[in-house]
Subunit: 410 residues, 4 copies
């Protein structure tokens, strides 16, 4: 078989894969352990989904792309689920309207957990029998990890609509963490580089083909931008100066009346920030979070700097890990996804995989911006140096942050 997603091979795969499968699948259920069925049904906007829908959809993915097409005699668990839990795969069929996902009180959360366990049984039997579908299983697990992160970001957005500012119930998740600030910028020499994924190790299709790219000399900030720095931008009137903003960004800022990062709340002249741990006084030493690309861009303009390109980010990350820069670039993967100035476009030679699974990434390569790195909601080992995350420039509900870059004279 051939999908455009590459997973590592080896002799102990079946056993390791089984363990990995169980770990990832159980992790999803562990995430919702502190939540009620009512919490799991929340959907505050079309761009977020209820937690229970995430649990069902990730299960649907295994059923639809592995069990139904490849297991002889397999009968759909419930035929209606094919429709209800399809996210955007037109190749599979019509999808239940996205903004209405919160209206599915039936099937219940318990029904969905039952669905998960039934599919788990079938997949695990498959994994024990054969390596044949291993690449698709690995894709399904990486897909599920993406949804684990989304589930938490979506929940945060939904909870935030509630004036009671609910506390999630797991004190380790989205807990405010102070930045260890490394001042200044690191220099990187330009030249012809290769970026993109290759060889062993799982990666998504959008990370390929590995290809050459020419970069000028550049500088990358050692740390992410802190709340303190961002507050200075606000206090200097950054949200009132049209000249700092992209044209579409200014329209967005005006029409939505945006004046601060998404989860900042001003009460009695004091700033607070909401996280899944509740509403807390703003911590100036944390990385600024939940800013849109437009805000990141305006902030960089205000600093007289710019955002990095995705190629600069990847080259710098590689040199940091394998070269002389090893320790100097902090917070590459562990606080916030970092907006780049690169539009999300296909790499030269990119080909969409055949079939419905080919809708995974390619069709989104328009109007979105690339983010690099990872955040503290990202499941362990999910991200990597070549990983390309992507969102619309106005999206704030993603756990995003800002790393600045500069041109460097030759």
């Amino acid at each position: 078989m051939s999908v455009a997603f590459h997973a590592e091979h080896g002799t102990d795969i079946p056993c390791a894969r089984l363990a990995q499968y169980q770990q990832v699948r159980q992790h999803s259920e562990a995430l919702i352990a502190p939540l009620s069925a009512e919490d799991c049904a929340l959907q505050a906007a079309a761009f977020v989904s209820p937690a229970k829908w995430h649990l069902a959809h990730t299960t649907w993915f295994f059923e639809t792309f592995i069990l139904l097409p490849h297991v002889p005699g397999y009968q759909a668990y419930k035929t209606e689920y094919q429709h209800l839990f399809n996210s955007y795969y037109n190749g599979i069929g019509k999808q239940f309207a996205r903004p209405k996902r919160h209206l599915l009180s039936r099937p219940s959360l318990q029904d969905i957990l039952d669905y998960r366990h039934a599919i788990d049984d079938a997949i695990m039997r498959l994994l024990q029998d054969s390596e044949e579908w291993d690449e698709l299983v690995v894709l399904g697990l990486n897909h599920e990890q993406q949804h684990q992160e989304l589930l938490l970001m979506d929940l945060k957005y939904c909870f935030f609509q509630n004036p009671l500012f609910p506390v999630f119930g797991n004190s380790k998740i989205d807990a405010p963490a102070q930045l260890l600030i490394h001042e200044g910028y690191e220099n990187f020499a330009g030249g012809l580089f290769e970026i993109g994924a290759q060889g062993s190790g799982f990666h998504f299709d959008n990370e390929t083909p590995r290809h050459q790219i020419f970069l000028k000399n550049f500088q990358l900030a050692r740390s992410l931008v802190s709340n303190e720095m961002y507050l200075a931008f606000i206090e200097d009137g950054g949200y009132e100066q049209a000249m700092l903003w992209l044209s579409d960004g200014w329209v967005w800022r005006q029409s939505e009346n945006v004046t601060h990062p998404l989860y900042w709340v001003k009460q009695a002249d004091q700033w607070f920030e909401y996280s899944l741990q509740g509403l807390k006084p703003l911590n100036k030493k944390q990385a600024v979070s939940h800013v849109s690309f437009y805000e990141a861009h305006a902030f960089a303009q205000w600093c007289g700097t710019r955002l990095p390109t995705e190629a600069e980010w990847e080259v710098a990350a590689h040199q940091t890990l394998y070269g002389p820069h090893q320790t100097t670039l902090a917070h590459m993967f562990d606080h916030n996804w970092q907006w780049t100035q690169s539009a999300y476009q296909p790499y030269p030679g990119f080909k969409t995989p055949q079939g419905a699974v080919g809708e995974y990434n390619g069709k989104f390569m328009c109007n979105q911006m690339v983010l690099r790195g990872g955040c503290d909601l990202t499941p362990e080992k999910h991200s990597r140096m070549t990983y390309r995350n992507f969102f619309y420039p106005q999206d704030q509900w993603v756990k995003t942050g800002i790393r600045l870059a500069k041109d460097l004279g030759e």
Copy 2:
């Protein structure tokens, strides 16, 4: 005290009122007995509310209009509830945004039931002590009965968005019931009549003052319009003939692409109708239900008839009950609310009661149409001959039906 809502008085009030209070309050909780917490959180549009919100709001009404202002030393159960469960009383304060009611997973359904029981305790103590607040208690109970009906209509609308067409779980509610059709029209002589509420017996402020009105001779249909008759209208192209429709009605029919009553569904060329009992083949002998005023008006035009005025309906209902017409007008209260051609306007001499409770009815007297009678979701003894229900002309989710009228030569 003085509110503009009139309740009967008498010696056995305290005891009877206590029983009535318990009956009404328990009935609300009985209604949701077949539902899960997930079902109780559904809100498919801004004009419907989650069942749990109805349970909380009706409780808020007792707390806000009786306990908080009148019971010395009473402390709000939870201060946030004053905001969360205020529907539209600007005199009380800002309201939590109506379209977001489904986002309140906290407080949970159980929290809300606890709230109900705490307020019940306080009100029942009050009722045992004094008759002083009796009028407000009666208003609160009638208010709760209105919400019992709304709760079911709202739930029906929400369930209908689910392609699984959920079944409610109480087989008596919204069960399809055949009409006993009485053919033809009853004649009524014109003259100067009095309409409106007076004297003993509870009524809302909008039913007063009782006043004189002059009517011409008229005819009123003995039965409601059946699905069979309405189907003939559809099959004759009634939804395609602009000349049958009011101007705003035609705009609505076009922009919303309405081609049948709300809960009709066509599958494989056969008509079905959704009720809380699930999706069933359309029963031609039932009353047509869930049509907007615009549809009712167009149907009447197609028949060469018209809808009755609210005064005609009330005069006819009175003569039916107390006069020679006693048995001939069927289905006045028991199938569907009946659209009249009367805009919802204040009766001559109408005065809004003082204070926030005065927002109950008066401020809605614009852009809505009067419906008379009652429907099979209306709590027993809740409606009456002078009762004025009112909704927007495009509203279909209310359990409405059509009774035709005609002019009668002199």
Copy 3:
């Protein structure tokens, strides 16, 4: 022939009608004399039309309802005009999209004037030959007079969008005129009255049938509300007090951010008012103009009064003209149309005339409010005591004002 519009008959009709026809038709063209072709093409919102469109549509009316159906062998002047200049007559065919009327640079203003003159020739020949179509001609002339008033109100709205605050060019039209204020209220005794049109004299179908109506005693203000009184309402925070407003009115006021009558402009802390004579300092002694029904209602609530019903207005107008009240009610017809609290509904026994001309009035009898009287833009002799004007409760661009009423104890 029989249309539901009644015009007087008599021996000298043909000659008088010819003169009247010429007077009305020339008046339309006189109105636009100070305007450029560019001015005549303005359309600032879907609810207003370009002046040139009014000129064409009123001509289309004569062609469509008289020449095309009734003159043997008559060929349409241009077949495309049937579509382009149809306003809302579904019985005639599809209409060119209303919000796009400003896009018809072709036909030019001159083309439209040519069209007018060609139709004038045909109609005048017809009038010389026969009285047969006299009723329709009279209807066409009254229709044109309605559009003369609309043309000016629409133009005012369009000009107002231009920061240059254009001056119309005819110093008599919409010129600010001081009110002669008569203080206080006039009393009227209740009883059974007749209202509506009858007998000789032109009237629209919506003014019939004349019918009986029972009124309680009431009071009507002798004068219209002045800018000075309305300013006191604003300065007292009338636009901030939700309790004064109808529910839909408050939603409108909030969503549109309305804080004053349409043409008031505040510059450097001073109030100005725009009229077709340009932007002038607000004259406190004028009648307040261009308020919506919602504003009129809130103002009346703030005064502890109410708006009159249309029956009260008509009965009072009749008694003023023919009875003891003769001189005491001022400004009934000459400053601003007066909002009533009556929804626009059919009179008892109202029947829509047959054919497309039946769409004239009946299909609008929903969601609108009745205005009575007339304004200084109303063509002479166009209005009358039984005239029912109607607009949506949010409409401000109509030249409206406020006359207060009160209940009167028995």
Copy 4:
């Protein structure tokens, strides 16, 4: 002085520049010669502007960026024009609302022509005196040429809303022209190239800095896609196959119900195409025009090909002009602007010029796609190989076409 726009220098500049100034300015007025003042006021959507506004705005550009800041003692022609004719320069001040430009009947077309001539006098005096402002004058002329093309594209869009399908009146403009089709693809070898503008000759800031880019081998179609080829796509159901479309493109195609290029019209089962020459039967041998990026992308997917990147286009154009490919790539500049698959982003090292004129290009570098080449509405000598045009992916009203590309194995 220093602006980021580079114009050639030399000894005969003043005289040549004067001639160029007169030529460009007169050309704008020649374009509207066949139009009435009514035609010149049309604005059918917020993204198009009235012809008279283009005439005024291009004049405002010279006044605002040259006369007002640099000519001592210069008084604004009319201070209100600073506001009315500012397009999007926040650095200059607030702009009159874009969607309302059609509401400016005053100033009249004649007033605007007077404005043009007054500014022309002042600029021409300046040009005779000094070369000092030459770069800004050249920028102003290139700016005006951009608006000459826009004026025609905007007019076409406005005229198309008129069911009379107006004919422009200058038979040479937008006249349907047959393609000389060259079949097949040209091969280009990859490698490290330089793209972007440099040296003498005017160019916009967005074409710089010239920089290195690495390309793989690729193929570029010799001709543009014809109507015949595009018709095959339609007839094969291309607009119905979600799998061919980008995700946002499919949403756009569905919500706008797009089923063909903008100006195609089907009448009685036959295809027509509108141009400024009127509605004509579709010519299959012409280049397909007025397709959005989404349509271009879907068409390329359907062909199993892709769109070129802007770097591929520029390298190929350069080799065609200066190398062995000289004659083989047809229609690079003369039929339709060609969508590339490149998002409009800053070139490496791009810096926004200081001051308001810096808003010219940089702030639009988000959400738009690059187009290369030119079209038959582009003023002569205006475009060039390094020219970067940019529009939103859904824009159809631009005169766009499709040139296909392919990867080429190594």
